[in-house]
Symmetry: C2
Subunit: 218 residues, 2 copies
């Protein structure tokens, strides 16, 4: 049985993990009989968004790990407690949490930094030859960490965002929501999900392929 770490970034598309993408990832992993370890960094969210008005809830604070626990039904751990022998692959769902809590890609684009615990886990896994899956906007993190190795990845087809990825040396490949980009050399897999998707079944198609590709390489 293969084990996969799923790194969450909160709970909700506008300030945390995109919930549908996260659940579809967990569903595809369960279907493949993979063991899942959910983890998230134990730090304050960059901001809290009222998902009804889509406006920032000024003055409100929430914790990334505690909110991520909603998606994981309480079964998760702080990223700093995640041990390398617990997983053979890592997957990051999207949502603005990936671009605001796990990195500052939303603000800084091609000059972003990756949260240190996230960077450490992903770099160590990559060095150990473990495949990494990046969904939706989370390839911004992959571009930062693996741009110097000329990683090939996708965030769909938005030229502005693609340009930010390429600022790190990454090669952006346009991709539809039903498909994925596989960098076999670096074992890095990405799919656009809600960067392009307008319905759940579309997003599911890409995520299913991503999970399958990650597990095949693990």
């Amino acid at each position: 049985m293969k084990s996969v770490a799923v790194i969450l970034s909160g709970c909700g598309v506008f300030d945390g993990s995109e919930i549908h993408e996260a659940v579809l990832t967990l569903l595809a992993l369960d279907r493949a009989n993979a063991r899942v370890v959910c983890a998230a960094p134990d730090l304050p969210q960059h901001h809290v968004t009222n998902h009804l008005t889509k406006k920032v809830a000024v003055g409100e604070t929430r914790n990334v790990l505690i909110e991520s626990a909603r998606i994981a039904r309480g079964n998760l751990k702080s990223l700093r407690d995640l041990k390398p022998d617990e997983y053979q692959a890592v997957i990051l769902p999207g949502g603005f949490g990936a671009a605001n809590n796990l990195s500052n890609f939303a603000e800084k684009g091609g000059k972003c930094q990756v949260q240190p615990e996230v960077a450490q886990v992903l770099q160590a896994a990559h060095k150990a030859g473990k495949p990494l899956g990046f969904i939706c906007i989370s390839p911004g993190i992959a571009a930062n960490l693996f741009g110097a190795e000329k990683v090939e990845l996708t965030i769909g087809n938005d030229p502005g965002t693609a340009k930010e990825l390429e600022a790190f040396g990454a090669r952006h490949v346009a991709c539809t929501v039903h498909n994925l980009v596989v960098d076999r050399r670096l074992k890095i897999i990405s799919t656009p999900a809600y960067m392009l998707g307008t319905r759940l079944t579309e997003v599911e198609a890409g995520i299913n392929k991503l999970v399958q590709a990650v597990l095949e390489m693990a």
Copy 2:
């Protein structure tokens, strides 16, 4: 194209809608090409639970509609703005929100009350011959509203909870996580989901059958 109202109760198993059940419901509806209208009552949550510690976050308050918007990606409306001609069926995912925000079944069991807007929507839909689907613990609401009509339903196999349902006149039928109970006479369908489920694919099996049954009767 059939339209289905999905009534949410917050965002997270311990104080709102069970996220996996809600997303699996939306996924099954999308797969069937149904139109979905998500709705939730605009009221304060009964409580907020820290999903990491599983303890109540004393002093913290959140709003059911605003938190439900996380699952619906902002595409939902207040229950009081939901019009009868917008849907031909209604489904309620589970989670403690169904038993604490949409009703007080968690506290009062067989003596619970249903939140007035929720009761109004469900009773009107039932009167109009629209099928209703109840997932996980939400059949507590169905027992309250339709117990006098001797509704048949399930919350899995817990004798204590079943007894509370039967206090309203409902007939409880034991059921596995992969299955469902269909009351054809009253067009009320239920499935245990995480009342019994230990993994996503189990819960998906029951919810897929529930959604299919609801759509067939709509």
